[in-house]
Symmetry: C2
Subunit: 153 residues, 2 copies
């Protein structure tokens, strides 16, 4: 498991898709503008997302991307797995020939940690995030209402 801004971009984009995605497909151009991510970079990311069957595409005018599955069935881990293909940090390349205690050390340690991180990220779905996002939006609106704020200049 790797964790870089690449994965973050992908999740952000997917979340944008999740929040706009009703009947109509969402264009990359729109996501690019709203989330301030380069269009061409998005194309690369979505190319991988499509190959991993997380999204479906519609070409031509009025086209764009759909989520290929219900919100609750797309986890953050899925997305990260799709764009950040994993490297094996074990020295023996995932083979089972590490009877030596030192090898076993590196090996077991990271497969274990990986498993736990995935375990967590597997249980955070787009549905979860959308729900949180709505909370956040409400909070912002509320803050505005109580006029705690802002933009002094």
């Amino acid at each position: 498991m790797r964790l870089t801004t690449k994965g973050r971009f992908a999740v952000t984009a997917m979340l944008d898709l999740a929040m706009r995605g009703g009947k109509n497909p969402v264009t990359l151009a729109g996501i690019s503008e709203r989330q301030d991510i380069s269009l061409s970079y998005l194309e690369q990311l979505f190319s991988r997302l499509r190959r991993h069957e997380l999204v479906e595409s519609v070409r031509g005018p009025g086209g764009g991307y759909y989520l290929a599955r219900p919100l609750a069935e797309v986890s953050v881990a899925d997305i990260i797995r799709a764009v950040d293909e994993p490297i094996d940090a074990t020295q023996c390349g995932g083979k089972e020939n590490c009877l030596d205690e030192h090898r076993c050390l590196t090996h077991d340690l990271w497969t274990g940690l990986n498993a736990h991180i995935y375990d967590y990220l597997d249980n955070v779905t787009l549905a979860t995030l959308v729900a949180k996002q709505d909370e956040c939006k409400d909070k912002v609106l509320q803050d505005r209402r109580t006029s705690k704020i802002t933009l002094a200049a």
Copy 2:
């Protein structure tokens, strides 16, 4: 939070230190040999670990490194924080001026995920890992005893 092989190397090295560290300091040369990590690279990693006060050094013959704290007080997150200094994935650079829903989206999402991952890794200490490692060693020995094995050539 970033998660790369760099952090893994550091944790592996610290675990080696944890398992050998009694009264005597442990040399980087030893860790290098046992864990098959470049000595110079280890020096760089330990330079950061020392600056973050996770280890203490003793120079001269018979010198090496000690853990600066008890096993149970060094978490995997500490180690990763020490060697992999974090990048902020938020576009506004951690500022609080993201009232806009789009900014809030990226922002809240990743700070939340980060927090959870750290939360997990903060609770995995060297003590935890050493315990697991001992289990593993026992299992290997047991496998050898029951002669399931191995090394056919």
